[in-house]
């Protein structure tokens, strides 16, 4: 088990361009677990990465936005420990499991 990346964590988070968002609210309808709306209808997005079981819902929420204000962003994982130690050249132990690739294609790029 990789301690730094528990299996519940999808490794993605939702990013919003607030200059684009126009309070359509579809995202909160499709992903109420992570997105609520404020009193003016603008989304409040839960902090942190998307839990794995919600990733598909999150993808739908992102794709539902009529003005493409949302995107799924891969969260960079710390790579430092995967490199060999600078002084000794010894690779870290235990080795990290191979990175999971997302199952579906990435959302359209804005």
């Amino acid at each position: 088990m990789n301690a730094r990346r528990p299996f519940m964590d999808s490794g993605f988070r939702i990013e919003i361009d607030r200059t684009v968002c126009d309070a359509y609210g579809t995202c909160a309808e499709l992903l109420p677990e992570l997105i609520t709306l404020d009193e003016w209808g603008y989304p409040i997005i839960a902090a942190g990465n998307i839990p794995e079981p919600l990733l598909n819902h999150a993808r739908q929420a992102v794709e539902s936005c009529p003005i493409v204000a949302l995107r799924l962003a891969k969260v960079p994982t710390p790579q430092a420990e995967t490199r060999p130690d600078r002084q000794t050249g010894v690779p870290p132990w235990p080795p990290r499991p191979p990175q999971q690739t997302p199952r579906k294609s990435m959302p359209r790029k804005r």
């Binding site: 607030r18 200059t19 309070a23 404020d38 603008y42």
Partner: protein
């Protein structure tokens, strides 16, 4: 008071000419010595003076690492903070120190072009900088750009957008200007006071820079002091106390009166304890405060903190670039509610909603205008707690009874 940036001829004589500047401070160090400038700035511990306080050396290093000789330097003298005067005073009186800094920064990050970004309302500063550019040899291809009067125009992504497209509104980041800025090139956006400090570190070194300072963070800073007998811009050692500042500027009505620290993006502090704390970025951060751009606004005993805060909230709501919904509607709602409290017309749940907005509006804009605004509100709700209560419950002002 410790004059470094502002040493030399009296400030009321205006811009120091190039010859006098060179005679007083000597020429800039040669190419060989300049190679060590970024490490020297890091060793000096110089923090940016535009408000965010980001380490200057680290910023230069990250632009230099991406530059490939293509970077651009933007000297930020927009100074949109209504209570700050220090950038325009520096540009109007020591233009060549700023231009020295631009030249050194361009050299250090690998830039051939620079932009002097000077708020269009700062006519004196612009004239001085234009004249200074004509006086000295043209080492860097430098032009002057003047953004309109606006709080947000000085924010770094807004500055880059204005230079690129004539639109002074912030942009969603990343990419940040140091990655992709003017003409898509890595851009160093640096406050003019930070650049002037770099010009002194280049001449005298990090150890000299660190000789000044009364607390953890070293060096001097320009501060804009108001609400005192002789308001204006001073250069002081970091770590100076509010009590010292009050004493040097002719004093205020009473010790411990509320102070607006850091301007409209800052916080209210009050009490004799607050007057004794060092104006040191590290110590202030530990208290949840910020040195910001060095604004120190003493409030008179006869002024009402609620009314003063309501005026600031209204200004900030009007300063929204009108791009992000939570900023447009949130800051207007904050301004309206504070105005109702200040005029004894509060709705029953106004105070509760104001407290809620100090949490819910944080991080909800492309730039940090909502964060700065509700940060000031949060401090006002604490420092003037009994005043807010009196305004809402008894519908009277304790100060202006």
């Amino acid at each position: 008071m410790t004059a470094r940036l502002l040493s030399g001829p009296a400030l009321n004589l205006g811009a120091e000419p190039y010859d006098a500047h060179r005679q007083r401070l000597g020429a800039l160090p040669g190419k060989a010595e300049r190679a060590g400038l970024i490490p020297a700035i890091e060793a000096a511990g110089l923090l940016g003076r535009g408000g965010a306080g980001f380490p200057v050396g680290r910023k230069w290093a990250s632009v230099a690492g991406r530059s490939k000789g293509q970077a651009i330097v933007l000297a930020n003298g927009a100074e949109g903070e209504p209570m700050s005067m220090k950038d325009r005073v520096l540009m109007a009186t020591r233009p060549h120190l700023v231009l020295d800094g631009v030249e050194l920064a361009a050299d250090a990050v690998g830039a051939k072009k620079a932009v002097l970004y000077i708020g269009s309302e700062h006519a004196g500063a612009r004239v001085a900088m234009e004249a200074a550019l004509r006086e000295r040899p043209r080492v860097v291809d430098t032009r002057i750009v003047t953004p309109p009067v606006s709080y947000a125009a000085g924010e770094e992504s807004a500055a880059v957008r204005f230079v690129n497209k004539g639109d002074p509104r912030p942009v969603t980041v990343p990419p940040r200007p140091f990655e992709k800025g003017i003409d898509g090139k890595p851009t160093l956006v640096q406050n003019v006071e930070s650049l002037a400090n770099a010009a002194l570190i280049a001449r005298y070194g990090a150890a000299w820079f660190r000789e000044a300072g009364r607390a953890e963070t070293r060096g001097t800073a320009l501060v804009t002091v108001s609400g005192v007998t002789t308001p204006g811009v001073l250069e002081v050692e970091l770590g100076t106390t509010l009590a010292d500042l009050a004493a040097w500027t002719g004093g205020t009505a009473s010790v411990g009166s509320p102070v607006l620290l850091g301007g409209y993006f800052g916080s209210w502090v009050a009490g004799p304890d607050a007057w004794q704390m060092p104006l040191d970025p590290a110590a202030l951060r530990a208290r949840g405060l910020a040195f910001g751009c060095g604004v120190v606004g003493f409030m008179g005993d006869s002024a009402c903190g609620v009314a003063a805060t309501a005026r600031i909230m209204d200004y900030m709501a009007g300063s929204s670039a009108a791009q992000c919904g939570p900023c447009v509607y949130g800051l207007r709602a904050v301004a309206d509610a504070t105005a109702r409290v200040a005029t004894f017309a509060a709705h029953p749940d106004d105070l509760r909603r104001l407290r809620g907005w100090t949490e819910s509006l944080v991080g909800r804009g492309a730039c940090r205008l909502p964060d700065g605004t509700v940060g000031l509100l949060r401090s006002a709700l604490t420092v003037f707690e009994t005043d807010w209560a009196a305004h809402t419950a008894q519908r009277r002002c304790q100060v202006r009874a």
